[in-house]
Amino acid sequence: MEALIADKDEITWFLACRVEDVPADGGACVLLNGHQIAIYNFARRGEWYATDNECPHRQQMALSRGMIGSQGDEPKVACPFHKKTFSLRSGQCLNDESYQITTFPVKVTDGMVYIGLE
């Protein structure tokens, strides 16, 4: 299911999955370029996010199975293992400054979800 679309701003967009593959207000994992990426369908806010699937705390491939929500206005995901939470916008860990994950831009068109990789 891989496809490449070149964009103006030099991000390469990869086709990741269909909209219905990601449960509303939850996450799912895709494999892109050998990299595990977690995609979140934040339906309550009408927003999409993508981050590393790996939680940096104990290197578990788990964030796509985490629960999403907000802290103040900040959208976040909680790792199911030990409940470290990460901002979906910045990737900063919200309850332990020493952890950080990578976030990726997401685009949804015609029922398809695309992830932007450098």
Binding site: A16, P23, M67, S70, P80
Partner: protein
């Protein structure tokens, strides 16, 4: 910064006490700085919490253990040099020289060099695989070595040794041995009887204990192979941690001509002054009142005294109480006051329960009026209360044995507890905070949460041992002020679980979004989502994965399986009452073989299959369901198992058929969602082989019927269930359980077990009995009806998933390559089966 007219203080050692000194001095200088501070530390990192060092193996990182970040030192004008020990003190010129050659003059010098592990002069201690347990670097070395080791030992059965031995087990070693020279464990804190009980408890954790063992040499070429003892015996090990005591770091003081103790330590007076009045020594390197204080609380007190005296305050270091409570070891141990005193200076009361692994001893004055000290093993619930009673010389009740036995007869009394202590009782000994000070902060200054109090007073930030007392104090003060204490869920839902349950019910809400739109704000989080999921299930009992409810479940509920290390899941089919046919056993074996699963019998008499890939879960369950199994709900906050003994169908003592009753009970309550997990058991006679009294609800057969016990708990905080009804028939027993469970489901806070719920209940067991048995609230029939609804609407969740292609699709790792399993999942082999790979 202008340091021209300031006096210079140099601190040698950036450990716990050295840091505390800086913190105290900074705080005292808030309104005008008089001293400039320079700190030399030998370790490569800033001061960290050594007391919780073992947590580094569990879930804490080095950063999390840090006491204050490096930036804190800079912000407060402290010149900090790490990885640069001081190697010389020139007291004539009043300057110190560091390893890197830095020379810094001082007006006052503070030695906070702590101690190192004492390594006895045994032949072979220099071999590879021999470690000490003191710094983060030590732990890194141990952890990486442990990956290749199978058998480990700890030399020294004291406080630290036991902690280190437990850590070896947690690191995955197959064997962990403790070697102690004395004839008992923790010889300085507990007596022979206590040691015996502790030994059995530790053995049940998997530790092997060798007492009265004199180590002669460590064998092996360059690497340790074993330990040889004076009695000729040999123990084969791959690694050894030496924990034979501490050796104060007085080498620098000695070299500069300061007075030291012949057995080690820098001699100081009541003001922590060494033989040179411009030089102080604090913490574990100092000998004050003829002793080394190997605990953090007295060290902090020393830091306070020196900081205060520099600022011109009158303060003196007083002899310190050496009471200890051991943490982290899986069994409670406490020792306080004078643990060993006996006739004629004191009277001793002991209580021992071998079966439960509990030993308690208190020493009281001959007139029975005051408490002198004591020992607690296996159950140290009363530790803090006893310690306070001892320290404050509180007059004892007429029957002092109540202190360790509790008030008997099953009726909970609302004990005086922490609110009954005198105002000057020391609650947080690390920070020297009295009850009056804390009450003031809570009551007058409005610091009504632990976090707020931590910030305002630093209470609970040292050893953490006072946290339960401080929590009680907060509740107590709020209650005194007439506050109604509400435990609201989180920032999104400003209601208690009980309030929300009523609102959801009255408004007939069925999804999380409906609840949030109507009663909350924001988008929810990992706290309120599962809490709402649980109460929706308790109210309506609809499939937890439908109508957008999947993503509000905890990960375990969302995948109807327990997530394990490495990201695979475990599968637990229900085996009611622990009874299983040979055919079903064969099916479990076949399924496990086919999907490569690790199998283990659980404590609840069923079989756990580990290591299932998320994508295999529906296939595995399909096979299990076809063979007649149902979900075991091991993943849910719901009924786990009803453990049973074989009862009168086989057992020669049995008086009733406990297995049949257990199966009936398990089938009735299976799948019912509750605030926390529920466990139960049924025994066929009073010998209690099913351990029903350690369950949330337990049933024991009598000649005339059944006794029902509730509110028991195993786990980390074991507690006995209390008798709710005796000699009742089956139908009555079920009615009472219906009412009890439903009352719990409706009124408990999220993630609160029945034991905690009952402990916190105003009126305790007496009140619960009034509600459940005497129906004083008149809700008995409602509770029964609500439970019956849940029973009637039970469906096996796994069967529904297996039969529903839409739901099945969610069980994949990669949604864009559904057939591919997570390639990062790795296993190791262990005893012919697999195990999860160790955390990295």
């Amino acid at each position: 910064m202008n340091t021209g007219n300031m006096q210079r203080v140099v601190v040698i050692g950036n450990g716990m006490v050295g840091y505390k000194f800086c913190e105290k001095l900074v705080a005292k200088q808030k309104n005008g700085q008089r001293f400039s501070l320079t700190v030399f530390g030998e370790e490569p990192r800033v001061a960290y919490d050594r007391v919780h060092l073992s947590a580094y193996f569990a879930d804490k990182t080095a950063d999390e253990l840090t006491l204050a970040p490096e930036s804190w030192y800079a912000e407060n004008g402290i010149q900090l040099y790490l990885t640069d020990p001081v190697v010389d003190i020139d007291r004539e010129r009043r300057e110190v020289r560091s390893h890197h050659g830095l020379v810094v003059p001082y007006d006052y010098l503070v030695l906070a060099t702590g101690s190192g592990a004492f390594v006895p002069p045994v032949a072979g201690v220099e071999k590879d695989g021999v470690f000490v347990y003191r710094t983060i670097e030590d732990l890194d070395l141990i952890q990486s070595y442990a990956r290749r080791a199978r058998k480990g030992a700890v030399m020294g059965g004291g406080l630290l040794g036991l902690e280190a031995a437990k850590a070896l087990l947690d690191l995955g070693l197959e064997e962990a041995h403790i070697i102690e020279f004395a004839p008992r464990l923790m010889p300085r804190q507990i007596d022979d009887a206590g040691s015996g009980v502790l030994q059995r408890q530790l053995e049940s954790l998997g530790l092997t204990i060798h007492l009265s063992k004199n180590t002669q040499q460590i064998t092996g070429e360059d690497t340790i192979r074993g330990i040889q003892f004076a009695d000729g015996s040999i123990l084969d090990v791959d690694m050894l941690i030496i924990s034979a005591g501490i050796r104060p770091r007085d080498e620098l003081a000695k070299a500069s001509g300061l007075d030291t103790h012949p057995r080690g330590g820098i001699l100081v007076d009541n003001f922590l002054q060494t033989s040179d009045p411009t030089v102080f020594a604090i913490g574990e390197c100092a000998v004050a009142h003829h002793m080394i204080y190997g605990l953090v609380a007295p060290g902090y007190d020393m830091a306070e005294v020196v900081a205060a005296r520099l600022m011109g305050e009158e303060k003196e270091f007083k002899p310190y109480d050496m009471s200890t409570k051991l943490k982290l070891i899986g069994t409670d141990v406490g020792s306080f006051g004078d643990p060993f005193i006996s006739e004629p200076t004191g009277r001793t009361i002991t209580y021992e329960n071998k079966a439960k692994g509990i030993y308690k001893r208190i020493n009281i004055t001959p007139d029975g009026k005051t408490l002198l000290g004591g020992i607690l093993v296996g159950d140290a619930e009363q530790y803090h209360m006893l310690l306070q009673t001892c320290k404050n010389k509180t007059v004892l009740p007429p029957n002092p044995e109540d202190l360790i036995l509790g008030s008997r007869g099953g009726e909970a009394t609302s004990a005086g507890g922490v609110m009954g202590l005198p105002d000057d009782a020391l609650i947080c000994s690390c920070e020297a905070l009295t009850k009056a000070q804390l009450c003031h902060e809570i009551g007058e200054n409005g610091h009504t949460s632990i976090d707020a109090l931590k910030k305002a007073t630093k209470a609970c930030t040292g050893c953490g041992g006072c946290t339960p007392l401080v929590k009680d104090l907060i509740q107590g003060v709020l209650k005194q002020q007439g506050h109604y204490i509400r435990n609201v869920l989180c920032e999104h839902l400003d209601y208690t679980r009980q309030e929300l349950l009523d609102l959801v019910k009255i408004n007939h809400l069925k999804t999380f979004d409906e609840v949030l739109d109507k009663f909350g704000q924001g988008d929810g989080c990992e706290v309120c989502k599962p809490a709402v999921a649980s109460l929706l299930a308790s109210l309506w009992n609809e499939n937890i994965l439908e109508q957008g409810r999947a993503t509000i479940q905890d990960s375990n509920d969302r995948f109807l399986a327990n997530i394990q290390k490495g990201g695979t899941y475990s599968v637990v089919p229900r085996i009611p009452g622990g009874e299983i046919t040979p055919d079903k056993l064969i099916v479990i074996g076949q399924v496990a073989k086919k999907y490569g699963l690790y199998t283990k019998i659980t404590g609840g008499q069923r079989i756990d299959l580990f290591g299932a890939h998320v994508g295999d879960l529906p296939l595995i369950w399909e096979e299990l369901i076809n063979a007649g199994f149902e979900s075991g709900h091991a993943y849910g906050k719901s009924l786990r198992t009803v453990k049973s003994c074989v009862g009168n169908t086989w057992c020669r003592f049995g008086v009733q058929d406990s297995v049949s009753f257990a199966i009936e009970v398990e089938d009735r309550y299976k799948g019912v969602r509750s605030p926390h997990k529920l466990k139960s058991g049924v025994s066929g006679c009073i010998r209690e082989c099913a351990e029903a009294q350690s369950k949330d609800f337990g049933i024991i057969a009598t000649e005339k019927g059944w006794n029902l016990y509730v509110g028991g708990n195993g786990g980390s905080k074991p507690q006995h269930a209390q008798l709710l009804a005796s000699d009742v028939d089956k139908e009555t027993c079920i009615r009472y359980i219906d009412r009890f469970l439903m009352f719990y489901i409706k009124t408990a806070d999220p993630l609160t077990r029945t034991a905690t719920w009952l402990n916190k209940m105003e009126g305790g067991m007496t009140y619960l009995k009034a509600v459940v048995v005497d129906d004083v609230l008149g809700i008995g029939a409602d509770l029964e009806r609500e439970m019956q609804l849940l029973v009637d609407t039970f469906k096996c969740e796994w069967k529904e998933v297996v039969d529903n292609p839409e739901l099945r699709k969610r069980f994949t790792h990669f949604v864009n390559v559904p057939e591919l399993k997570d390639p990062t999942v790795e296993f190791a082999t262990l005893r012919d089966q697999k195990r999860a790979k160790e955390w990295k």
